[in-house]
Symmetry: C2
Subunit: 440 residues, 2 copies
């Protein structure tokens, strides 16, 4: 019997999510607006048979203290739709997932852009639905206050219904192009949606033919209660934030259990935790690489991150000593304990701990191709995930090492593709093409 | 002394604006969602050294009677930003102008997308500012009624101020990428806009570096009193709708006169009337080509267009006879008289007249390379225009004929470039790079 297959995405800001990455030897600090760099990254991902490139996005300059912001390459980057459309031309099979907000955009625009990207790319578009938690975004869109969490999720659900409804405006066979009779399309194969709901009022029809994939692939990342429920109801890929394999199994069981109760087949949704990968010649080499990029996080950003995580001012601690005892504070106990436990487990100094938190503190695989493949295999086989949404600590080298070493090892074990299964993102993910609600 | 130079844009929907075009021999009826076709068109335009490709756009299925709509290839097409970003990858010098509405979008989105397109294309983006006159668009964006004309223009002006302000968020030299010190950008070289106006409230800064061109090129098409004034104040290209050379001169003098009064240099704005071109081996051949594509407009669409233009029901007229006498109606006198005059001048039957109006009834150049170059030269030299925004009656053949025959004739006369002047759209148009309002 064929083995379960890993699905692999790459979640990127152009330079990296790790705030020390742009200073790493060989990195391209100008990648945020360097299209040639992005072309280099995405064609490497396609060489590695990745399912998809996920483009992160923000609708404001990140609201961090200016001392940290000025050292962060995440302050700016390309806008997702323009970047992914351009990247579609230099690739043939990899999926292209754009982040788009349901709180600060209109469903007619969103439906059009994804449909257009899906046509241009031959069926490789995906929509990472976000409700936008950065309160500064509201200030860029005419609102004085941020939209409350529950309201954002109710609007997101309605927004999803409208967008998918707009994608169904035309039957797949609506466009006849009958030169002889002069009939360009069959008006009986077109529908308005005439939606009037709590937040949105949209007549339709969409002025774009049905996407190649029927609907672009639906992606979500929400981990909250309404986020998990929305995912179980609507998502086809979940970008999870599981920090350990135990958390991964628990999240996996919860979301797939919700699907069972909704009557949705479990394999209609792929759960992909985000994970940073550090590949080395040996485990020690990989750890040294991690230490090197962490060490590039500036002290100001690092100490600020540590202070926030602990709920105390960490600037007076001896940076080269161990973490001193931390009293109880208003900061959540689990966050504080996680940090204390991390310092003890890896025997980190205050500076190293701070730089880890100021760089990237989520799930990471640190080792050789074999040890990383072992870990990934364990996640896959124990139902902690269906694959991963990988984050590279520095590019291009961190990406190249994964593609050149880990991918062949995963392929050798028979848990990752050696060729794309088809031409669309749905083909890669093994997802069905949605039927049209109006037309058989 | 060097002669004045024509500026040439191509204004396109993928198949054509002419509603008979998709049925023309050799046309590609599926071009609306055929990226290979679009690539073929835009690379041909670049071979012909065109200044820019202008992508028309709509925010609703066009509100025409269903009997006409079902025969019209204009019902759907790619969305401009996704298409133009993809086309930027297959071209090197041609400008890429996207239509975007100030009535139904948010300035933060618009500023980001154009800035991103300008970075991806190396400085070739332009913004065709429209206020969206199709009332059906309002119904797709949560409004029950269309926004009134004067209000749309006041909002457009405010929207322009906000978008250009957002483009100035960062000084050109803000991004230091100083690997040694860890300073990614200089926060003193970043500004918020803190805009609160009649329609818009936007804090900023934009999360994208200043565009390559400073600002993408500003394009407008409004012919109304507020449209002309907005153009004189803000536009760098005006897409005009002059139907005769006399109209062209009058419009040109009016808009450039408004610029004089505002203290703007006249050459900071290029006036480009839309014009359809029919190139033939002889003038008679060109006329026959026009008749052939007009004859492909279906009778239903044609008679509907004639009835609207005249303000009477034309369906009872003998299609093969001359236009009967038309009584005065509620329809504007100038529209009715223009149609009657057209029928007499070209000796058209009712069917031919109806098909002209149902196809494309604006300014057209019909002839050989020499006669078309003569006409264009006259427009240029008598200050009726600074060039043209060309419309091709059928593609690819109508486009190829222009590039292969008319362009060399214009070049031979010394009124059109043989090589691009630089790398950006501003370089092609001879427009200065705007200074940043915040930073010298």
């Amino acid at each position: 019997m064929a083995r379960r297959q890993l699905k692999l995405g790459a979640f990127m800001r152009p330079v990296s999510l790790h705030t020390g990455a742009w200073r790493y030897p060989g990195a391209w600090p100008d990648a945020n607006f360097n299209f040639a760099a992005m072309k280099r990254f995405v064609t490497t991902l396609e060489r590695g048979k990745f399912d998809a490139f996920f483009m992160a996005d923000h609708l404001a300059v990140l609201n961090m203290p200016i001392e940290a912001l000025k050292r962060s390459q995440t302050v700016t980057s390309f806008e997702p739709f323009t970047l992914l459309s351009a990247l579609s031309v230099v690739t043939e099979r990899i999926g292209l997932v754009a982040t788009a907000s349901t709180t600060f955009d209109a469903p007619y625009h969103i439906a059009r852009r994804f449909a257009s990207l899906d046509h241009i790319s031959g069926g490789r578009a995906g929509w990472n639905i976000v409700t936008t938690s950065n309160p500064d975004a509201a200030l860029n869109f005419g609102l004085d206050e941020h939209v409350e969490h529950g309201e954002r999720y109710r609007r997101a659900r309605e927004f999803y219904d409208v967008v998918t409804g707009l994608w169904d405006s035309f039957a797949d066979d609506a466009f006849l192009h009958d030169v002889e009779s002069g009939l360009f399309f069959d008006p009986d194969r077109m529908r308005r949606i005439d939606h009037k709901g709590e937040f949105l009022s949209v007549r339709g029809p969409l002025n774009i033919a049905r996407p190649v994939q029927g609907w672009p692939v639906i992606v979500q990342a929400g981990a909250s209660e309404p986020g998990r429920q929305l995912a179980a109801e609507t998502a086809e890929v979940v970008f999870a934030a599981s920090s350990t394999i135990e958390n991964g199994r628990s999240f996996y069981a919860d979301v797939k259990g919700r699907m069972d109760r909704l009557g949705r087949p479990r394999d209609g949704l792929k759960i992909l935790p985000g994970a940073m990968v550090f590949v080395g010649d040996t485990v020690e080499d990989a750890k040294a690489r991690r230490a090197r990029v962490d060490a590039l996080v500036h002290a100001d950003s690092a100490i600020a991150a540590l202070s926030i995580s602990l709920g105390v001012d960490a600037s007076a601690f001896d940076p080269d000593g161990p973490l001193p005892p931390i009293p109880e504070t208003n900061q959540s106990k689990s966050s504080r304990e996680r940090v204390i436990e991390l310092a003890e487990r890896e025997n980190l100094t205050v500076r190293q701990l701070a730089q880890r938190l100021g760089g990237y503190a989520g799930l990471a695989f640190v080792g050789t191709a074999e040890t990383i493949a072992d870990e990934m295999e364990e996640w896959l086989e124990t139902e902690a995930s269906d694959g991963f949404n990988l984050v590279f600590p520095y590019v291009p080298e961190g990406l190249d090492l994964f593609v050149d070493r880990v991918v062949p090892e995963l392929q050798r074990r028979g848990i990752f593709r050696t060729e794309y299964e088809g031409t669309t993102l749905r083909d890669s993910l093994g997802l069905p093409r949605p039927s049209n609600r109006h037309f058989a």
